[in-house]
């Protein structure tokens, strides 16, 4: 009986921990998933799946090293699977997916137009370069990005420098 209570308390602690992580990373994960072209509603479902897997992962006493990297990697892989499955779903129009930024009195119209153009340039970049940029934007360290995408640290640095320069120089030309 005491043992059962202990197990229940342990589960509760884990559930609390996972909920905290969910609160911290749901937004970043959803933004990253949207950047991969996943519709918001499907993204929410993927994020649920990620944290349910995390709960089980921790319950099974598996590695706690770099949970943020783990979370993003699982989300990334689920999104790719979702995309493979996507033949059954209408493709998401990325222009709709990235709506125009809301009018902001502090942002001039010219600035939001520049931002839209920049995002359009980013969307035209190679897939992996885009993923590096979006993961970097969510605050992941290069080592974590490399782990999520299964590429080397050098490849991450190269992709980031290349795509930042491409995006901003293309923007300046217009």
């Amino acid at each position: 009986m005491t043992r059962n209570l202990e197990i229940e308390a342990e589960r509760q602690t884990l559930a609390d921990e996972v909920t905290k992580l969910f609160q911290a990373y749901r937004g970043p994960l959803l933004r990253y998933l949207m950047s991969l072209g996943v519709p918001v509603a499907v993204g929410e479902e993927i994020v649920q799946e990620v944290f349910l897997s995390l709960f089980q992962h921790l319950q099974e006493g598996k590695s706690r090293a770099n949970l943020r990297g783990w979370i993003f990697r699982v989300a990334h892989n689920l999104a790719l699977k979702e995309r493979q499955r996507g033949v059954r779903r209408p493709q998401v129009d990325l222009d709709e997916q990235y709506p125009c930024p809301a009018p902001d009195p502090e942002n001039s119209a010219a600035e939001s137009q520049r931002h839209r153009r920049l995002m359009a340039v980013v969307r035209a970049l190679p897939q992996q370069d885009q993923q590096c940029l979006h993961l970097r934007a969510e605050g992941l360290r290069y080592r974590e990005i490399a782990e999520v995408l299964g590429i080397s640290l050098g490849a991450v640095a190269l992709a980031l420098s290349r795509s930042v320069l491409k995006a901003t120089s293309a923007e300046a030309v217009r």
Partner: protein, 254 residues
């Protein structure tokens, strides 16, 4: 000193260089106008991207309370026993496969059904709610190597790569247990009634169970008794649907 690449300047800006290299690069950049300009361009460009991106995504996020509550409910539904399931400690035997010569003589129209004495089917004690609360994940292929060996042994098969998969009779997504009593060697090339077709049936049954159209125990019993008969019954067809021949459960993602 050698030219500093854009990639290294980017790493410097992001504080990603190892300490000794970082000091070296900093020293160089201090006296290199060209490097300074490129570094500024990289930093400015990244900042601009971050700003543009924030504007594009933030407005779409809804309140977190609903999704957080849903997650808590789902975690509650995960049974504690799950932690004792053997696939914790498994080597990932993604579709353990084997061969023998005799399979070549296999009548390809003939389905391999599990031997009901060796593989009667075994389930975990899970309710419908519990089965449906856990996403239909890919633990399908996570059979410990030692257990797979045991299964081949009991069927008297000499394992050789890529001919068989060790399949669950009752899929984990339907509450099936990782237990030799619930595992059997299924040939990939078993003609029309192959592993892909069975996977399609499992998905369909799970949908029916989670929609409440049939009982979990009924689904488990029917798939364990004669999965081909169950397929015919639930898909209203004598032969496997062509789309199902190549139906594949996704590969494990971890």
């Amino acid at each position: 000193m050698n030219h500093i690449s854009d990639a290294e300047l980017m790493m410097l800006a992001d504080n990603e260089l190892p300490e000794d290299r970082s000091a070296e690069v900093r020293r160089h950049v201090k006296d290199c106008w060209n490097c300074l300009a490129r570094q500024a361009e990289l930093q400015g460009g990244l900042a601009e991207f971050l700003q543009a991106r924030a504007g594009a995504f933030d407005m779409q996020l809804s309140a977190i309370d609903g999704p957080a509550a849903l997650l808590r409910a789902r975690m509650k539904a995960v049974r504690p026993e799950r932690r004792q399931l053997p696939w914790n400690r498994l080597a990932l035997v993604a579709a353990v496969a084997v061969a023998g010569f005799w399979w070549l003589q296999w009548d390809i129209e003939h389905p391999l059904k599990p031997d009901s004495r060796l593989t009667p089917g075994a389930t975990m004690a899970m309710s419908r709610e519990e089965v449906c609360a856990v996403p239909d994940a890919d633990e399908m292929r996570l059979v410990p190597a030692s257990m797979a060996g045991q299964v081949f042994n009991s069927y008297g098969i000499q394992p050789t790569p890529r001919i068989y998969e060790v399949d669950y009779l009752i899929a984990p997504a339907l509450g099936g247990a990782t237990d030799p009593k619930n595992l059997w060697p299924q040939p990939y090339a078993a003609g029309v009634w192959n592993a892909g077709v069975k996977d399609a049936l499992e998905s369909h049954l799970r949908d029916l169970v989670c929609k409440g159209a049939i009982d979990l125990s009924t689904a488990q019993r029917e798939i364990a008794t004669d999965w081909i008969a169950a397929y015919r019954k639930y898909f209203h067809t004598d032969k496997p649907l062509s789309a199902h021949a190549s139906f594949r459960k996704d590969l494990p993602w971890e």
